[in-house]
Structure formats: structure tokens, C-alpha cells
């Protein structure tokens, strides 16, 4: 909670001060004077909006302020949660609030992986009634991710996916094309490293945390493998294709030596820093890196960074892990109409465009994607459209947190010990035990 709420009429602080003075004054007088005060407070419906912290040249608080200033019926109080890199903390904060079933926060944003869980727990209000008609205006993939058990329980906000950042200048120097397969990328990375052009060929995230699952899903899906079977009732983590994919991640460190062993303890930011510091050729990360890479002040590589879909295996196709945060309405909210109105505004093309321009949050409406201003100001987002086409969701199950923890442990073990098949088999067994109970 960082921003002081602003209201056009006098400010909230003024109202509170007045209430306090009345309380301190003569009780009988306060009762008599109470009427106008209530009338004042009631002229705005207050709802709370909890979201993970996103940063750019603007904050979510700025956007919420605009909504508050744009109309006089609803006042939205913004509650800032930790940034998406602290996914567990955000999840925990939301669950603790939602489980109390007292309607607070009224509106929230959720990582795509929690949609099934929140819907199954009955905390997310089904939205078909309010947004069913506009479903077709969003990417099919995000709508699919927002649907659980046939009901729309979340509304798309921003799409993100794992993608490959590369150094345009370095690829030009060695006369190479942007790699589309892992083999091509490995070859180029090894060459650039051997030529002492960079310290690291390829950076990714292997910390035993959610981000490891994201990296794993990207390589798995690019080899037609997955953590869970399509029906979500069993694990497919030990298939030959899956083992081959995870083996590749292990090889980047131990065989090809294009990744330092440090990636095993790195999440997003530690891996981003060497790349924007000009020390790495390729980086797997989320779209936020682009804005930072272009920043003249903090980056050593502005103008030299390109974005492309992640490579794939022979016979597979690129599959960045689908991420992004989506809106949800608390099933227990007492201000349903206000919440719906706020979300309608937040999910509008105009607001999506602003999130895209100021915070690098890619729109979930294809129409906004093709907007001329967006193309002019952030040409890279156009190239992201192809990146997002192949975005692959993580396993869709209400038991996702448990599945993820088991996968994190198993994949981390596989990567560290090198006994890939053995460890993945053990992990698959554990995941089977979790999902078969559901």
C-alpha cells in the first residue's frame, strides 16, 4: 500500500479528520450532525483492488488514480502486493485474504496458475454473466487459461510468456541468423563464448522456485512433452521426450558450458543483470527485460537487443511458458456492480494500451496489439505477437501448488545430479500421487 488515495472532492483525509473531530466533540451534537457526514461518505462506493507490483515508467497506482478521477461513483483503494517474482508471497497474501470470505479484496489480480485453484475453492466469482459477451475480443489462449470447469472465472489482463532475448550486434558479427532450434542456439552461443565476445552463452533460471517450472515447461513443450497429461490426472514427466528436454538444460551447464552453474541458484533478476550488463549472448526471460535493456542509464546494451520466440527441438515448436496476471472478482464481494464496472474499465482497450506503453504489460486483446501508437512507440511488442502465439500454459489443476513444488524439487535434483531419468521418474511418481487424489 503505497499511494495516498486521491479524490477530486476535498480528499479522503478531510473526511476522516471531520469524522474524528465529531467523535471528539459532544456526543449528542455528533448524532445530530451525523446525517450530512453519512451522505458524503455514501456518495462513493469504496472497493479494494489487490495486485502484485508491476513496474515501468508508471505504476498500477497511477492507473487506479486515473480511474478514481475519471468518475465519481466508485473509489478504488489499491493494495500493493509483492512483485510477481515473489510469486509465493503474492499467492499466500491472496489466499489468506480470500479464505476469510469477507469480500476483501473485492477485485484482485492472479497469476494464471492460480485460476483453477481459486475457482475450485469457490473464491472467484464466475464472470460469464458480465463478460461472457466480450470473450471473443480476447486471445483465445488467455480465455482458455481463464476458464475452469467450463466457467469463465477470471478476466484476461496481461499476457506474458517466456521468450528469448538475444544480442543483435553479436549475431551480426558472426553472420548468424536468429536461432530457431536449441541446437542452433547452442552452436552460436558456444562460438560467441569461444571468441571471447561474451562471458556467458545462454542464461536461464534454475533456482528451486516457480521460475524453474516455467523454464522447464518451455523446453518440455518445445519437445512435445509436458509435466501433466492432458486430462491432468497423471504425470508425463518421465517420458523419453521429457527426459531429453531436461537433459538439454543440464547439458547447457555441463556439456556445452554455455551457462554458468550459477543459473541453478538464479531467478529472473540475477540472470537479467549479466545480460543487460553486456556479458551474455542469449537470455530466457519475460518481456519486462526489454524495457530495462533499452534504458540508457542502467543498460550497457541499449539498441542491441532483439526478442524472438524461444528455440525448439527438432520436430517441436517454440513454446514459451504462458505467464501473466489476470483479473478476478472475489466471490464474496459486497460490491459486485462496482467491481464489474472497475474491471470493465481496466480491461478496456484504452487501459490495456496504457499498460502496454507504460509498463510493458502486453495486451490480451489482439485489436490493441495492432494499434498504431503501440507499433510506433514499442515496435518490439509487434514481434511479441508471434512469441505469444505459441505460449504454453503450465499444468491446469487445482492442486497446482503441490504439483509445482514436486516438480521444482525433482527437476532441480535432475539438473544438479545429472541423473535426469532417475530423478524425473521419482518426481513423476510423486506428482501422480498428488493429482490422482484430486
Amino acid at each position: 500500500m503505497t499511494r495516498t488515495p486521491k479524490t477530486p472532492a476535498g480528499g479522503k483525509g478531510g473526511i476522516q479528520r471531520r469524522q474524528f473531530m465529531m467523535g471528539a466533540g459532544v456526543a449528542a451534537g455528533a448524532a445530530a450532525l451525523g446525517m450530512p457526514r453519512l451522505a458524503r461518505a455514501a456518495d462513493r462506493v469504496e472497493i479494494s483492488f489487490a495486485s502484485a507490483k508491476f513496474q515501468g515508467t508508471e505504476t498500477i497506482g497511477n492507473v487506479v488514480d486515473t480511474f478514481n478521477e475519471s468518475q465519481s461513483k466508485i473509489f478504488v483503494k489499491y493494495i500493493e502486493l509483492p512483485p510477481p517474482s515473489s510469486s509465493t508471497e503474492v499467492h499466500q497474501a491472496l489466499v489468506q485474504q480470500l479464505a476469510r470470505k469477507n469480500g476483501s479484496p473485492d477485485v484482485f489480480t492472479q497469476d494464471v496458475i492460480w485460476i483453477a485453484e481459486f475457482a475450485a475453492a469457490g473464491w472467484a466469482l464466475p464472470l460469464d454473466e458480465y463478460f461472457g459477451g466480450v470473450k471473443s475480443q480476447f486471445f483465445d489462449g488467455t480465455i482458455d487459461a481463464c476458464t475452469y470447469d467450463g466457467k469463465l472465472t477470471a478476466l484476461p489482463w496481461g499476457i506474458d510468456s517466456g521468450m528469448m532475448f538475444y544480442r543483435k550486434d553479436l549475431l551480426d558479427e558472426i553472420g548468424a541468423k536468429v536461432p530457431t532450434t536449441w541446437a542452433e542456439m547452442t552452436e552460436q552461443a558456444m562460438k560467441l563464448q569461444a571468441d571471447k565476445k561474451v562471458k556467458f552463452g545462454f542464461l536461464w533460471q534454475g533456482k528451486q522456485a516457480e521460475v524453474l517450472v516455467c523454464d522447464a515447461v518451455s523446453v518440455l513443450a518445445s519437445n512435445n512433452a509436458a509435466i501433466l497429461a492432458a486430462d491432468g490426472r497423471s504425470s508425463t514427466l518421465a517420458t523419453d521426450k521429457a527426459v531429453e528436454a531436461i537433459q538439454f538444460l543440464h547439458d547447457t551447464i555441463n556439456k556445452y558450458k554455455i551457462s554458468p552453474a550459477d543459473v541453478l541458484s538464479w531467478d529472473e533478476e540475477p540472470s537479467r543483470a549479466p545480460f543487460t550488463g553486456g556479458e551474455a549472448a542469449f537470455l530466457r526471460n519475460w518481456s519486462y527485460v526489454y524495457v530495462l535493456a533499452q534504458d540508457e542509464k542502467s543498460s550497457k546494451v541499449p539498441g542491441k537487443v532483439g526478442v524472438a520466440p524461444l528455440p525448439h527441438f527438432e520436430g517441436g515448436k517454440s513454446a514459451g511458458c504462458l505467464g501473466g496476471y489476470q483479473y478476478g472478482i472475489n466471490a464474496n464481494t459486497k460490491q459486485r456492480e462496482a467491481a464489474v464496472e472497475f474491471l470493465t474499465w481496466m480491461a478496456s482497450p484504452e487501459t490495456q494500451l496504457r499498460f502496454a506503453l507504460k509498463m510493458g504489460i502486453a495486451p490480451t486483446r489482439p485489436a490493441v496489439f495492432d494499434d498504431a501508437t503501440l507499433g510506433k512507440e514499442q515496435p518490439f511488442m509487434q514481434s511479441l505477437k508471434t512469441v505469444f502465439t505459441g505460449a504454453t500454459p503450465r499444468p491446469k489443476t487445482p492442486k497446482y501448488p503441490q504439483v509445482s513444488l514436486a516438480a521444482q524439487s525433482g527437476i532441480s535434483r535432475a539438473l544438479v545430479t545429472g541423473k535426469v531419468k532417475e530423478e524425473l521418474e521419482a518426481a513423476a511418481k510423486k506428482i501422480d500421487a498428488i493429482v490422482s487424489k484430486a
Binding site: A99, A121, G122, K207, A438
Partner: protein
């Protein structure tokens, strides 16, 4: 009560029954507030946690049924749990021993008179006063595999040829965490032991010196035996605290790589708050409580023996 009956009652004295029960009841009445407050903030959560450990409560599945000892049966066969249990015990033993040894050395130095002693004493407490999360971040940068100053110093001095991947490899991750913990907590041990050293009468040390005992003999035969009960109590405090290690692991490694730094606190945290399995997580917490109780009993046994023994 009317005005007329008052003096009569006063003359007659308090009725026999009331006078008999009041003094007996009074101590309990005085104890009631503390009993209620301790009961509500300490006893109730423990009992509730114990109760949860016999259920399959989960926020995700919304189940809340009594399942007896099923969680504990599952716990016995859960290699992740035993893995974390071993790490926790290892961490507790190594860090407590290292901190006690180092703290003792620091205490022996700081109890002597020298110029600027009070400044050194105050400065010594800085690591202890620092929030653990700050320590964790700090050590994260110090021990960073690529850019950390520790690797740089070791490389420059020729001790290592290649960077050590401090918390990204199974071999070093736990050691790194123990080093951070020792840096942070040794001063606390030093403080406790210094207080113990100051209670040893100067006359005993002077007498030893007059009998011709050198500093080592004085330490081994006079100071150490007299310091023993303080050492045991300080060690117990530290061991019980070390057993709950959480922040360092959580910030530095998240329990990885390959579960190599997973401790009971981080594992039960993940189970309770990430996977939201309150039943199973509570069983884990109860197992942790039992292990801690065993540690406390072990120390308590030696402390009691020490205290009863004639000096």
C-alpha cells in the same frame, strides 16, 4: 446492605465460610490473567496445530475431516521430510558448535581490559542486531558465484583457480548458509558467555595465578568448569533457535538446489502456505516440535546435573 447492618457485620467478623475460601482462591485469581493470556496465545495454537495434524484440512480442496494418524504415517515414508530433518539437525549441530566456540573466544577477549573495549563490545553486536533478511541479502551478494567479493578475494589471493558456485551447488550451499549464520549469531553467544565469565570471582583466578597456573591452565581448570552451566544454557538457546532456521534459507536458496538446503521450517512453510495443506503441514510442524523438545530435554538433563553437582 443497609446502614444499620454494617457495624453488626463488622463486629461479627467475616462469615466463617467466606474467610476460609478467600485466601485459597486469591492466588488463583491473581494467576488467572496470565493463565488466560498464555493459554490463548500459546497453548491454544499448539493444541489447535496438534488437532490439525490429525485432519486432512486443506484450503485448496476445502476438506476438513479427521483422519487419525494418516498424516504421520505418510510423514514416516516421506523422503523429502527426512531429507529436511537431516539438514536441520546438521545445521543445528554444526552452527551451534561453531558459534559456541567462536563466541567463547570472543568473550574471553572482550572480558579483558583494553583500550576501546566498550566500542568493540558495541560494534560486536551489530551483526546480531541486523535483521536476518538483510544478512541473507548481504551474504547473497558476498557469496555470489560470478560477482561476489568472496570469490574475488579467494581468486586474487590464489587460493582458488575457478569461481566457487557457493549457493548453487549441493556441496557448498549448506556451508554458505552456516557461515552466514555463524557470522550473525556468534556475537550473541559471546554476549551470553561474557556475562557468565564476569560472574567468576576474580579471587579464584588470582589464586590460580599465585599457584603458578598459566593462562591455559587457568582457563581449563578454573574458568571453563565455572562457565559450564552458562555454556549449556546458552548452547540450548542457540540450538533451539538454530533448529528453526528459516530466513537465511528462504532468501538465499529457497531450499535448493536439489533440496540440498531444505530445512524443516522451509519445508513446512511450503507445505502450509504454498501448497496450503494445513493438515499435513501441521503434522510436519508437530514432528519439528517433538524434535525440539528432545533437544531441550537433552540439554536440560545436563544442565540439571550441573546445577545439582556441588561446586
Amino acid at each position: 446492605m443497609t446502614a444499620r447492618s454494617l457495624p453488626a457485620a463488622a463486629l461479627a467478623g467475616p462469615p466463617r465460610g467466606a474467610g476460609w475460601s478467600m485466601p485459597r482462591l486469591a492466588p488463583f485469581l491473581f494467576l488467572l490473567p496470565i493463565a488466560v493470556s498464555l493459554g490463548s496465545v500459546s497453548l491454544y495454537p499448539i493444541l489447535n496445530g496438534l488437532w490439525l495434524s490429525f485432519t486432512n484440512t486443506s484450503l485448496v480442496t476445502q476438506e476438513h475431516d479427521f483422519i487419525g494418524l494418516e498424516n504421520y504415517a505418510q510423514l514416516l515414508g516421506d523422503d523429502l521430510f527426512w531429507n529436511a530433518w537431516r539438514h536441520t539437525v546438521y545445521f543445528t549441530v554444526v552452527s551451534t558448535l561453531a558459534e559456541t566456540a567462536l563466541g567463547l573466544v570472543m568473550a574471553l577477549l572482550l572480558v579483558e581490559r583494553f583500550a576501546g573495549r566498550s566500542i568493540v563490545r558495541a560494534a560486536m553486536l551489530v551483526p546480531w542486531a541486523m535483521p536476518t533478511v538483510v544478512t541473507s541479502k548481504m551474504f547473497g551478494w558476498l557469496f555470489d558465484g560470478q560477482y561476489g567479493v568472496v570469490n574475488w578475494a579467494l581468486r586474487e589471493s590464489g587460493l582458488i583457480a575457478e569461481n566457487i558456485n557457493w549457493y548453487g551447488s549441493i556441496d557448498h550451499a549448506m556451508t554458505t548458509i552456516i557461515i552466514a549464520d555463524v557470522w550473525k549469531t556468534a556475537p550473541f553467544m559471546a554476549l551470553l558467555l561474557m556475562a557468565g565469565l564476569q560472574t567468576i570471582p576474580k579471587s579464584l583466578i588470582e589464586a590460580a595465578r599465585m599457584d603458578g597456573a598459566g593462562p591455559v591452565a587457568t582457563f581449563v581448570h578454573v574458568r571453563l568448569p565455572l562457565l559450564m552451566s552458562t555454556l549449556l544454557i546458552a548452547g540450548m538457546f542457540r540450538a533451539l533457535d538454530a533448529f528453526r532456521v528459516f530466513d537465511l534459507v528462504y532468501v538465499l536458496t529457497g531450499g535448493g538446489p536439489a533440496d540440498a538446503t531444505e530445512t524443516l521450517s522451509t519445508l513446512s512453510y511450503k507445505t502450509l502456505f504454498s501448497a496450503l495443506q494445513f493438515g499435513y503441514g501441521s503434522a510436519m510442524a508437530t514432528a519439528m516440535f517433538i524434535t525440539e523438545a528432545l533437544i531441550a530435554i537433552g540439554f536440560g538433563f545436563f544442565i540439571m546435573r550441573k546445577m545439582r553437582a556441588p561446586r
